[in-house]
């Protein structure tokens, strides 16, 4: 027995060693140009920059900063849903939720120290390699750094208190959840502070015309890109955390020895994917908002982003994000085999696939790409006469709404897959009635607020002529129509016409958000371009209300409904688990690539327009360099986090050793 255990341990160690060797070889292959370059030209610079043993300081910072950001995203993102899962378990009394939340807590507790160490390493590396920049930057943010350090200490204390008090506070769950909420709040403050410092580098404020900082620290923090970056980053962190946990569950599923363990990790993977997609759905709009604000800060930067050096990077980004949606949906569809009764809905999937693929194809259609004369001749002009229109922002806004709708419907079909028939709402079920009315009220509040914004909007505030107000009014009327549809849907739902109510509201939303406003966007683009931002917000808000109201009606209809049987957790294909792994890898690469774009947009400025990088490393790396760097960092991160998870798991009981429900 002992010999068998020893052999198993040795075999596992040999496999891990081999995996490390393969990964190291790949990493070397990805980075070999830099290594060769470093060997050939160890040099020093007199531009306020030092090299790192001959290696490009820029690449060293790139690697350290990106690894720090990835670990930080995990440490900040995972507590959000660890606490959510714990709350769900507390409310429904199912111990598997609590066990899952505890396992998440173990993972981010293991990753926290590495995150902090990488943060320290990043600071030291900046001071060492970029002393002139550090002097300027930390001179401005010195007061913030003390607060930042203090909050990190608070985060450390709360995190370990939250994790280690799990058993002790098992019977005082409210208190423990309170600790978790404090942890989430502190993590969010850290994101706010960290994001303000990085966004300041793109949009410095409080600087006079000689480049001297004359403002207050608050002015520096409250720069124009701060909140857009925070929103984008928080949603990105949630998505990232969800997909990393999903991949963890998938790998554990694939290596599980018992059915109980497979059931547990299958469920974990499902929850991870669910959270990841929930974060992903609003992410394109957060990105759109950030992009518009970047244009506002500097048209030069904005034009360079979408129509200059970085336009191809956005084509790759569209591919990656499109893949996230398609693979996330694929995972849901393939998971339906574990649900008795789901066969009824299989026939719809082929339509979803067609819609998703077509929308992704439209989404990655470029508009502002630098083309050679030969390329222009080949496509018949500066833009393709037919397909060129697909590259416009209004089209992209429409198709991203159309991508979100089938993704949402996949969830709806998934959750009602094993239900036989809905329960009537007209019967005395006060709680469900209230929830539907409350959801309707929330939708009305959101839409009503935005309708009054549109009706009160002054054209002059957007540098538009007074007669352009007609565009605002038309969009406002559509929002009011959506409000009327919401009221009608709530009434129908309360009169036992839940499916009709859902269909009606989805139809109205799809028609308005994708159809009418999608096409109207073309007119607005040419006639009142600055209004396109408000138009996109209207599209998105209308869509979000559909997600809220349709979900509320669905929950009300199917709560307590008879079912064909419980979900057979663990009864999924290996392919679906590889889908989870690929979601994790793709989100890491997407984040790495977007960090390259955000940093690269500053071009040869440490701090845009204020502090110039006059060193020889101040060029914009090509897409080829970017993919090698991001690919290498992805592998290093995955190796590091796998190692941490392995360490974290050494002292933990496996699910098959516990009593699994």
């Amino acid at each position: 027995m002992l010999d068998a255990s020893l052999a198993s341990t040795r075999r596992a160690a040999a496999i891990r060693l081999a995996a490390c060797g393969i990964a190291a070889a790949v990493g070397l292959w990805l980075w070999w140009p830099d290594v060769l370059w470093a060997i050939q030209s160890p040099m020093q610079s007199g531009d306020g920059v030092r090299t790192f043993f001959g290696l490009s300081p820029r690449r060293v910072i790139w690697v350290v900063a990106q690894l720090h950001l990835l670990f930080a995203a995990f440490v900040v993102g995972v507590p959000w849903f660890a606490v959510t899962v714990e709350i769900l378990g507390w409310r429904n009394g199912d111990p598997k939720y609590d066990r899952l939340a505890h396992e998440f807590a173990r993972l981010f507790a293991a990753a926290f120290a590495t995150t902090a160490a990488l943060g320290g390493l990043l600071t030291f590396t900046l001071i060492g390699l970029y002393p002139r920049f550090s002097d300027y930057f930390f001179g401005i943010f010195a007061p913030v750094m003390y607060i930042y350090g203090g909050i990190f200490l608070a985060e450390t204390a709360v995190l370990y208190l939250y994790y280690s008090s799990w058993e002790r506070l098992r019977h005082r769950k409210a208190l423990h959840i309170g600790l978790g909420l404090v942890l989430v709040a502190v993590g969010t403050v850290i994101v706010f502070i960290g994001s303000s410092m990085s966004s300041y580098m793109m949009a410095p404020t409080g600087v006079d015309e000689t480049g001297t900082f004359v403002g207050t620290t608050w002015q520096a923090l409250n720069n124009p890109l701060w909140i857009p970056v925070v929103i984008h980053r928080l949603l990105g962190n949630i998505t990232f955390g969800g997909f990393v946990v999903g991949a963890y569950g998938a790998v554990k599923f694939l290596t599980a020895k018992t059915d109980d363990a497979r059931a547990h990790y299958d469920w974990m993977g499902y929850v991870g994917n669910f959270v990841g997609l929930m974060g992903l759905i609003p992410l394109p709009f957060a990105g759109y908002y950030l992009g518009r604000e970047i244009y506002g800060v500097s048209p030069v930067m904005g034009n360079n982003m979408m129509g200059g050096d970085f336009s191809w990077a956005f084509i790759i980004q569209a591919m990656l994000v499109g893949l996230l949606f398609i693979i996330g949906n694929y995972y849901l569809w393939s998971g339906m085999r574990r649900i008795p009764g789901a066969e009824r809905y299989q026939k719809y999937i082929k339509y979803y696939i067609v819609i998703l693929v077509a929308c992704v194809a439209v989404w990655l259609t470029p508009r502002n790409l630098p083309l050679s004369p030969g390329e222009q001749l080949a496509i018949g002009g500066q833009v393709h006469p037919l397909l060129g229109v697909l590259g416009l922002m209004s089209t992209k806004n429409a198709v991203i709404n159309l991508i979100i709708l089938p993704t949402f419907l996949s969830f709806i079909l998934y959750r009602r897959a094993n239900k036989i028939a809905p329960l009537p709402l007209s019967q005395p079920r006060l709680g469900t009635k209230i929830s539907v009315v409350a959801a309707g009220g929330l939708c009305l509040a959101i839409l009503g607020w935005y309708a009054q914004v549109l009706f009160r909007l002054e054209p002059a505030s957007l540098d538009l002529a007074a007669d352009k107000v007609v565009y605002f009014r038309f969009t406002g009327v559509l929002v009011v129509v959506a409000m009327l549809a919401a009221i009608t849907s709530v009434i129908l739902a309360l009169r036992d016409r839940g499916h009709v109510a859902q269909g009606l509201y989805l139809a109205v939303v799809a028609t308005e958000s994708v159809g009418i406003l999608g096409v109207y966007g073309y007119i607005v683009t040419t006639a009142a371009n600055p209004f396109l931002r408000q138009l996109a917000a209207a599209q998105w808000l209308i869509l979000m209300t559909a997600l809220i109201l349709v979900t509320a009606i669905d929950l009300a209809m199917y709560r307590g409904a008879r079912s064909y049987g419980g979900i057979r957790w663990g009864d999924v294909t290996a392919k679906s688990q590889y889908a989870l792994v690929s979601l994790c890898v793709i989100i890491i690469m997407t984040m790495g690539m977007m960090a390259y774009v955000r940093s690269g947009l500053r071009e040869n400025w440490h701090i845009y327009g204020v502090l110039k990088d006059t060193s020889q490393w101040a060029y914009t790396p090509s897409i080829g360099v970017m993919v090698r760097m991001v690919g290498g960092i992805t592998i290093v991160f995955l190796l590091a986090i796998s190692f941490l998870f392995w360490i974290a798991g050494l002292g933990a009981k496996r699910p098959d050793e516990e009593s699994v429900d």
């Binding site: 002139r132 001297t212 191809w312 790759i316 845009y608 006059t614």
Partner: protein, 326 residues
Amino acid sequence: MKNPWIRVALFVVALVALFVWAGEVVSRASGSTLRAAPGEGISLENGELIFWGPGKCHTCHAVGTRGRSVRGPNMGASADGDAMMIRAAQRARQRSAELGSDMTATEYLVESLVDPSVHLVTGFKDEMPIVYQPPVHLDPNELTSVVLYLQSLGGQPDSASIAIPREVRLSRRAALAVTPWQPYLEGDSAKGRALFFDPDGRARCAKCHRVGDEGGDIGPELTAVAGTRTTQSIVESLLQPSASIPAGYETELIETIDGRILDGLVLRETADSLWLVTALEEMLSLPLANIARRRTQDTSLMPDDLADYLSVRQLHDLIAYLRTLE
């Protein structure tokens, strides 16, 4: 290959390799590789490299069939019109009529680069950045090279015809610590000295500052200020005295027990009293027992509106004098 760990590892490596391959393909297809950097000095070739590189002109302007940006006018001959230099000659005539003075095609080109909002081409927005300011930040030589390149589009390049406006040269600001600050004018140190010590003058510096044996002791001694401070730092102290206050010269805000609020520099303090000089140069003696609260401030006692009282010439005279104090 039954081991799931190896399968997952290979799957991950394959995904990353696919991403790298796709990026390499895009890199080759887009020509997104390291571009040649412009060299030193003025030349048409440099102008072309700047136009298609660090000048970022190509993100808004195409040249004939090269590039496809449509945010700004096409600089070459295209379906929309003649090449740039021919159009520049036409617009220069139009601008001459508006201004009532002659403007050449090259002057029009220069004006459209350094002050693009002055004359907008119909159908285009007022969104072009001022190219000699950050973030584009071209220096006069780079600007001249770009104009040479534009001259070559439908005309003959002629560097002798290009006059970069003086304000561009003066406004040229390198990033921090790259180019030391220099005064805009050559000041007269003798006049500056007179201004410094004139008790009824506009500056009256000597009321507070000592140079050698002359002057007051309220502010820091300036006998060797040029030996210890850079010119930029001296100018900052003149125009923004609170930006950097020497240790011991921070003012205090004092509230007395009878509710008076006093603001000034504590010159001396004993166990039971302190002596305060206010911004109005009043000297006050206060028993410590009469003080309810006191707080050190981050403002200087020196007035921060010197620029309102001195002309640019007088300011430079004063700077010139202070630079002699080594």
